[in-house]
């Protein structure tokens, strides 16, 4: 008989703290079939680690809908009028890290995901946060 978790948790471990790069982004592949929680579609998610901000960790879609390429994790972190954003490496639009909003186009928003540290493990919920 297969063991099933009694209290299924949506949080998925995706990588270690040491995989992150401070003041910059990395990309993880999340979702898929889960034995500990609900199965979700596989997605590329960009993780940004900014040690002296609050929160320290941000997770947004890696797919840049304007460029049509999975490149957000490779953008530069830029503070624009007090808000932390990531600038797309292809066409340089700014996306706000806390809610994914594109500052240049009000119609465009990247999905964001809950992310946190569990000790030295980075965990996320691979379901988009409600807007």
């Amino acid at each position: 008989m297969t063991e099933v978790a009694i209290n299924p948790t949506p949080w998925q471990p995706v990588c270690q703290r040491s995989d992150l790069v401070a003041e910059s982004g990395v990309c993880v592949l999340a979702g898929g079939v889960s034995v500990t929680g609900p199965s979700t579609p596989r997605r590329s998610i960009a993780l940004f680690f900014i040690p002296d901000s609050d929160p320290q960790l941000y997770a947004v879609d890696n797919w840049d809908p304007i460029a049509g390429a999975g490149v957000i994790a490779r953008g530069l972190i830029a503070e624009v009028e007090g808000e932390l954003t990531v600038a797309s490496p292809l066409y340089k639009q700014h996306f706000r890290l806390r809610d994914g909003q594109c500052l240049e186009d009000p119609e465009i928003r990247l999905a964001t995901y809950p992310a946190a540290f569990d000790g030295d493990t980075v965990v996320i919920i691979p379901m988009p946060e409600p807007t």
Binding site: L29, L76, A78
Partner: protein, 841 residues
């Protein structure tokens, strides 16, 4: 509608300006325009004719272009000399016998060089200095010659003497009058000029009349009044110009006593349907032998033809120029011939500087001035003169070296709106003010909009003054701050980083900035840190500062994959290395394309493939090409004297040397260079930031060119340099650029925004006016000495390699990067094609 037939005879600078001005008018449609040009090519820049010897080609000097005239709807008859005008029948007849009728006729026949009727002047080794063909003939004659003599010590004569000197001849100037440039200079100024020119190795014989020229053992012997003789191999006559009025004479138009077609304020001749403009015209018994008055006449006639009123009432003949490297300026009544004129003179014999102001009897207005050896006061003095501005209480301060600090500056505010700021393009202060009020916020934008200061550049300081003052008046703060996080210009930040020896972005942000930084300041500071300390861009504190291209040391393409460009210095590559490039491309299924910079670009590498690709390239001896960086890209070269029958120097060896020296230099923007092995210029060096062109005697250095969206020809910076001097100048030029340019400013824009422009740059680099030379060289030596191939370092550092993971939690690939094949190579799939691929068959 029947068009009026307009014939223009003569296609020199003024004739061309007339046609160019007419072309900008809608009224041009009213005319059927025919142009007679006696020369084999349309108009070219005669003012800069001498640069033909310094490497400029006929094409570089061209003003009118055949295609351009065609686009304007003009009919251009090249090699066609008009020989007769029948005013009764309104017909022009050409040398080939063709007749054409006109309604309106414009004579722009220019002038011809005056050759004094000395017996023997028709000898084959006697030349004049007027056309490109003349220069070709002089160059050919100089090949087996030792000595050259210029007859005439005026402005053009000294130009010609310089040319002979540049051709490697022992140059002599023979002048009938007592002094050099006697039209523009007084005795004192002329004497100082003579001393300077003699110290440069040109022999000057003033007060000397030539009586006979005869052949003597295959050379020419000049016999002077008083019995002296001089042996020479060639003679250039440059004893002044005469209006080319023969056609007008045979047509019965009124001429001046000593020639010149008489015109009125409308530039009309004695026949109301015939105009005359430029050096062939005579207004109030004067011929205007400068280009600016000719341009004014041309614009005047265009206005008349368009039904507007305009008038030519003479022109200011003030000039500023550099002759044989000596600065000379002459304003207004230089000789003090006005009644009651008084003079103030300053002479510095040690440095060869002569300055003289001519004022009215009260000392309140400036009538004229002579400047030799130092023309830095010219612009200001000219404004006093042209605008009749009251002189300050102690006018002598205007020409005396300032004892402490700045000399008294003429505020831009004291100039009337009508004051001419740029005489090359006839731009008034009012036009500059309008441009600023119309939204131009930088010097560069104002130059673009008005063309002010884009000719000789002499007015740049004054122009900047006006722009700044106007911006301030509009309440606009001139903000060159890097970004909201640093209230400094890039230049100021560079200085701070250097002086305080700041090594990291966070340190700089903490001490001199605010917030977290952004995509503007992070790469800019990273570049400054790299220029100064040359750390690996992936060292911990610098991670997160770079654009993706610098971060992954490759160029991101539209689908998120990267292209890889190994360095191929000078474009020289062995067959073995070429094979390796092919093998690597094949193995990783990369699209290959030859770049404009003579290298091979490999496209379509996935992020995680980059280290493997580079490991193979480095094993084969390749280095990173920095195609991703704001840094030196390539040094393009032609094959040079090793193989080419025309080459005069080994351009490939020089390109290799230069590329290997400056590779890895981080700069405010990308830098491109090229080296050509002869003046045919196959490496297109004149479109580069640094262009080097071989000469018989060394190298000509060109700077501040670029291709791209706003192409710009490079400017000739220095000539006939030896290898060592060439490198020294490039060292200084590049480091000065790195230190003082704004973020993302190419060398061309940087130079245009430098107060003083190219001349200032020459003063800094060549004359070392700021005393920075050694420091700049030392800084460059440090960059050169600490060079590392960033990729070589990266593939040997596991920490750095961790960055090259598509996903940090799996080895899977990004399945949304899809390629399809086209013309036998991969290319990124289009959106529709990706869906197809994703769907199960």
């Amino acid at each position: 509608m029947v068009k009026q037939k307009l014939i223009v005879i003569g296609n020199g600078m003024v004739g061309h300006h007339f046609l160019e001005q007419l072309a900008t008018r809608p009224e041009r449609e009213l005319f059927e325009v025919t142009i007679y040009c006696a020369e084999p090519r349309p108009a070219y820049d005669r003012v800069h004719l001498s640069e033909y010897f310094a490497g400029r080609t006929a094409d570089d000097l061209a003003l009118g272009r055949v295609e351009q005239y065609r686009d304007w709807g003009y009919e251009l008859l090249l090699n066609e000399t008009a020989v007769a005008i029948d005013r009764e029948k309104r017909l022009v007849t050409s040398a080939s016998g063709q007749e054409r009728s006109y309604d309106r006729l414009v004579l722009a026949t220019g002038s011809y060089p005056f050759v004094p009727p000395i017996p023997g002047h028709e000898h084959g080794k006697c030349f004049v200095y007027r056309t490109l063909e003349d220069l070709d003939a002089i160059r050919a004659a100089s090949e087996n010659a030792r000595t050259g003599v210029v007859v005439g010590g005026g402005l053009l004569g000294l130009e010609a003497a310089n040319a002979l000197k540049e051709l490697g001849l022992e140059a002599h100037v023979v002048e009938f009058a007592r002094g050099l440039m006697s039209v523009q200079l007084d005795e004192g100024g002329s004497d100082v000029l003579r001393n300077k020119i003699e110290s440069l190795g040109v022999a000057v014989h003033t007060g000397t009349a030539t009586e006979l020229i005869e052949e003597c053992d295959g050379r020419l012997r000049m016999q002077f009044k008083g019995g002296r003789k001089l042996l020479t191999d060639l003679i250039v006559f440059s004893a002044g110009i005469r209006p080319e009025d023969r056609l007008a004479r045979t047509a019965g138009l009124e001429l001046g006593e000593r020639g010149g077609i008489v015109i009125d304020e409308d530039c009309r001749t004695s026949d109301e349907d015939i105009f005359a403009i430029g050096e062939c015209a005579l207004y109030q018994s004067r011929v205007f032998g400068l280009v600016a008055p000719g341009y004014t006449m041309a614009r005047n006639v265009v206005a008349q033809l368009c039904g507007e009123s305009a008038s030519f009432t003479g022109a200011d003949m003030s000039t500023k120029l550099k002759l044989l490297g000596v600065q000379v300026g002459s304003i207004g009544d230089a000789h003090g011939r006005t009644d009651g004129a008084a003079a103030i003179t300053f002479v510095d014999e040690q440095h060869g500087i002569y300055k003289r102001m001519i004022t009215d009897a009260e000392g309140s207005k400036l009538l004229g001035a002579v400047l030799v050896g130092d023309t830095s006061d010219y612009d200001q003095l000219l404004q006093y003169h042209l605008n009749d501005i009251d002189l300050p209480e102690h006018p002598e301060q205007l020409i005396l070296p300032a004892a402490d600090g700045e000399p008294p500056a003429l505020g831009a505010g004291s100039l009337p709106a009508s004051a001419t700021i740029c005489s090359c393009h006839n731009v008034s202060k009012g036009q500059v003010v309008d441009a600023v009020q119309g939204g131009c916020c930088t010097l560069g934008e104002v130059k673009d909009a008005t063309r002010a200061s884009t000719g000789c550049g002499g007015c740049s300081a004054l122009l900047k003054n006006i722009v700044d003052e106007e911006l301030a008046a509009l309440g606009m703060e001139v903000n060159n701050h890097l970004c909201p996080h640093f209230e400094f210009t890039r230049q100021e930040l560079f200085h701070i980083v250097q002086v305080e020896e700041i090594r990291t972005f966070s340190q700089l942000l903490e001490q001199h900035g605010n917030g977290h930084g952004c995509e503007v300041c992070k790469p800019a500071v990273a570049s400054i840190l790299a220029s100064l300390w040359n750390d690996h861009i992936h060292r911990r504190p610098h991670v997160g500062l770079q654009d993706t291209n610098d971060t992954f040391m490759a160029n991101m393409q539209k689908n998120g994959s990267y292209s890889v460009v190994p360095r191929v210095p000078g474009g020289e590559i062995t067959p073995d290395k070429l094979i390796v490039l092919g093998q690597v491309a094949k193995k990783y299924n990369l699209y290959t394309k030859i770049t404009g910079g003579q290298r091979v670009d490999l496209f379509g590498a996935r992020l995680e493939q980059l280290p493997d690709i580079w490991r193979e390239l480095i094993d084969a001896g390749f280095e990173t090409g920095h195609a991703y960086g704001k840094s030196l890209r390539t040094v393009k070269s032609c094959v040079g004297s090793t193989w080419c029958r025309f080459g005069v120097q080994d351009s490939v060896a020089m390109a290799l040397h230069i590329e290997n020296r400056y590779k890895g230099l981080r700069s405010p923007h990308k830098i491109k260079m090229a080296v050509s092995g002869c003046t045919r210029e196959c490496a297109e060096a004149q479109s580069k930031d640094v262009g080097v062109i071989a000469t018989e005697n060394g190298w000509n250095l060109f700077v501040c060119g670029n291709g791209g969206m706003r192409p710009r020809h490079a400017d000739l910076f220095a000539t006939d340099l030896d290898d060592e001097t060439l490198i020294r100048y490039i060292d200084r030029f590049l480091m000065f650029y790195v230190r003082t340019a704004d973020k993302l400013q190419r060398t061309s824009v940087w130079m245009e925004n430098l107060e003083g422009g190219l001349d200032y740059l020459r003063e800094v680099v060549i004359e070392d006016k700021l005393g920075l030379g050694e420091e700049l060289e030392a800084q460059m030596a440090n960059v050169v000495g600490t060079y590392q191939c960033e990729w070589k370092t990266a593939i040997n550092d596991p920490e750095m390699l961790k960055r090259f993971r598509q996903f940090v939690n799996t080895e899977e690939q990004d399945e949304r990067i899809v390629f399809v094949e086209e013309r036998g190579q991969p290319r990124p799939a289009r959106e529709a094609e990706i869906v197809k691929v994703a769907e199960p068959a």
